[in-house]
């Protein structure tokens, strides 16, 4: 018997008073991801909501292709595309009320835009002219977080602080399947459950952490099952089914708002594009797999549902696509303008007041810039 097997066989007998702190049964996720589109449940869905989700998904897809194109044209330093994951991105934004907070990861620029943040300000990080281009307080969107899962404890702390102040605020935090292996994921979920904080964790399980497939990431039955260990409900949803993601997230947000505490939602989806434009996905997955997922495309699922049930006409589809083209053209036009940079900004927000050391360095850079300008004039 190996050491691991011995450990598995070892079960301490509980002392007489022992009992589980929480009944785990209601916390368990369903065996199958929740689906709405293409099922009987879709008949009960609000047609207006479906049309809204569709319009947003079409816009989202177009935003993704436009941002990818801008990267190829050198207008963005890098773009982590959410093509194939638009259902999760838009549902996350739409499930929140105005006073709520969104905590996105670097792949979630679409959710940020769907929340109302200016797309150019959203893409500032990826263009490279500053780190965060938007004011987080304007639309209550935290900065895009690149260090994986580190934004999750922020969401917990913010939601906890709001609850301490008696404010009606829910925080929705987004993370990928790879991020669930990080210690901050564990700590955030644990703090959220212990504090009963009004937080919703949305894990977009898109199958890969850059190149590493989920099987090498976790041995859990599902990522949603991890919730049970923390004492919060885990929900499993088809991440390409916008209606289903919207329903599950809206329920989880309502549950949090009503004082029910946090929920972990695993949305099963697929990253159609490579990790970023700098990645070559053919090194770790086959074309057949990608094609199979294209048949389960989030935009198509919505369109099929709406057209199949006569909830949308050709004219409306054309109008939605036209709106997306207008958005893309506007984005292209704005992103094709060179950002105006002031190198002296380097020193502007390190501290509330620059230290004397920073003032010296500021003077050094200013002198360099003046010399450069003089040289430029002399030529």
């Amino acid at each position: 018997m190996t050491v691991m097997e011995q450990r598995g066989a070892y079960r301490p007998s509980p002392p007489p008073a022992w009992q589980p702190r929480t009944d785990p049964a209601p916390l368990l996720p369903d065996a199958e991801p929740h689906r709405v589109l293409g099922t009987e449940a879709a008949a009960k869905a609000d047609p207006e909501l479906l049309r809204r989700l569709y319009a947003q998904a079409v816009l989202g897809r177009r935003y993704n292709t436009q941002a990818t194109a801008l990267t190829k044209q050198g207008r963005l330093a890098v773009y982590p595309s959410s093509t194939g994951q638009e259902a999760c991105e838009i549902a996350a934004a739409l499930a929140l009320q105005e006073q709520d907070w969104l905590f996105p990861s670097y792949r979630d620029t679409l959710a940020v835009v769907a929340r109302g943040v200016d797309p150019v300000e959203t893409l500032t990080l990826l263009r490279g002219d500053w780190h965060t281009g938007y004011d987080p307080y304007e639309h209550r969107v935290a900065p895009l977080s690149t260090p994986l899962a580190t934004q999750l404890p922020h969401a917990v702390g913010l939601a906890h602080a709001a609850r301490l102040k008696g404010d009606d605020v829910v925080a929705l935090a987004m993370v990928g399947d790879g991020g669930t292996s990080e210690g901050d994921f564990h700590e955030a979920l644990n703090f959220a459950a212990v504090w009963h904080a009004p937080v919703v964790f949305l894990v977009q399980n898109n199958g890969f952490a850059i190149s590493v497939p989920l099987a090498k990431q976790t041995a859990a039955p599902s990522l949603a099952h991890k919730a049970v260990g923390y004492g919060m409900p885990g929900r499993l949803v088809d991440g390409n089914d916008a209606a289903a993601v919207h329903e599950v997230l809206t329920d989880a947000v309502r549950h949090a708002r009503e004082g029910g505490g946090p929920t972990l939602v695993e949305a099963v989806t697929y990253r159609i594009d490579a990790h970023t434009n700098a990645d070559d996905a053919t090194r770790y997955r086959g074309a057949a797999e990608v094609e199979a997922w294209r048949d389960h495309d989030p935009v198509q699922l919505l369109e099929r549902e709406l057209t199949g049930r006569g909830l949308i006409g050709e004219d409306e589809i054309a109008a939605v696509r036209e709106e997306a083209e207008t958005m893309a053209a506007r984005l292209r036009e704005r992103m094709n303008q060179d950002p105006v940079l002031d190198p002296m900004d380097l020193f502007a927000h390190v501290y509330a007041e620059p230290t004397s050391q920073l003032r010296e360095q500021q003077a050094l850079l200013r002198a360099e810039l003046e010399a450069e300008a003089e040289e430029g004039t002399a030529r």
Binding site: D135, A348, A352
Partner: protein, 335 residues
């Protein structure tokens, strides 16, 4: 002039008082960490706060330092002013990513829109007979991270004044508490209006004309003792207590070195890559023509912090400081 007789108080008591006064003055101030509630902290610095202000204001958290600091970031985003306790120097390392990637950068990455008024209290340093992982001097890591202020008191009055200033600061402050000075006593009257020290100002603890000892935190009393002992050798040593490592007070330090012409930097932290290298370089760059000798460093050895029974050989003591002073290229007339 005070008419109240000054009573001896410990640094730990002054810190408790600073927390209590800050919490009473501003409902946004929240204390959080491991064992800070019911127990009052392993060093009792948060003693009585949970009772007085309730557990929502002084909170026992789960045992996870990244989670503690990460949630404190979120609380600060929402307008609170968290004061986080890391139980020991080496136990703060799990929070390092939150500190470096978020706490230090949030103001900068949001162009000033999202400052984080956070205080991170960390008991640090050796000399208390602590077993492995309880005696690190971790200040160099924090000093090397732009966006953080790093302060450390050496006296009871400064413990109060600097902690109040740290909590009042709109920037994140790493507040390093020299744990072997927790029980040091000073005449300090908590009933008097206290001074809140501005962050970033060093202070001359002892004036002298022969050489300057530049030091901070737990090494300040050691340097003062060394300065007393040096009188027998005919050296009149000045002792500068930095109090704030970031921002660094070049002005006070250089004014002293220009007066004395000689300097030794003293700290517990290892010498290689330690604060002393930066300080010696700054002094040399600014005071070269005033210097009679190279700036020397007396630091902990570049070894993992030793077991308690060997730590006295590691920590800079009076003799090692005086030996360094003796190497400052004296000529008979310059003493």
């Amino acid at each position: 002039m005070s008419t109240v007789a000054l009573k001896p108080a410990t640094m730990a008591q002054a810190l408790t008082r600073a927390l209590r006064d800050a919490m009473a003055a501003d409902p946004a101030v929240h204390v959080m960490g491991e064992d800070v509630g019911t127990l009052g902290g392993v060093f009792r610095v948060t003693d009585g706060l949970a009772k007085e202000f309730g557990e929502d204001r002084c909170t026992d958290t789960p045992l996870a330092e990244a989670g503690i600091l990460g949630t404190a970031v979120g609380m600060a985003m929402y307008g609170l002013r968290p004061v986080v306790e890391m139980q020991f120097d080496a136990f703060a390392y799990p929070a390092f990513e939150q500190l470096v990637s978020h706490v230090a950068k949030m103001r900068n990455r949001t162009r000033g829109k999202m400052p984080l008024p956070l205080t991170i209290r960390i008991p640090y340093g050796g000399g208390i007979g602590g077993v492995e992982h309880h005696s690190d001097s971790s200040e160099a890591y924090y000093m090397a991270t732009p966006g953080l202020h790093v302060v450390t008191p050496a006296t009871v009055a400064d413990a109060y004044g600097l902690l109040r200033a740290a909590i009042a600061s709109d920037d994140p402050v790493v507040f390093l508490e020299p744990k072997r000075l927790y029980w040091s006593k000073d005449s300090w009257n908590p009933d008097e209006p206290q001074t809140v020290e501005p962050i970033g100002r060093a202070v001359v603890r002892r004036t002298g004309r022969s050489a300057t000892l530049i030091t901070y935190g737990p090494s300040v009393p050691v340097c003062l003792e060394a300065a007393e002992a040096a009188r027998a050798e005919g050296w009149d040593l000045e002792v500068v207590d930095l109090r704030s490592l970031v921002p660094f007070d070049d002005e006070t330090v250089c004014a002293s070195v220009r007066r004395t012409g000689r300097a030794v930097v003293v700290h517990e932290s290892g010498g290689f890559g330690g604060p002393g290298g930066e300080i010696a370089a700054r002094v040399t760059e600014r005071c070269f023509h005033y210097l009679e000798a190279p700036v020397l460093r007396v630091a902990g050895f570049d070894v993992p912090y030793p077991p308690p029974m060997l730590e006295r050989h590691h920590l800079p003591g009076v003799d090692r400081i005086l030996d360094a002073v003796a190497r400052l290229q004296w000529e008979a007339e310059s003493r």
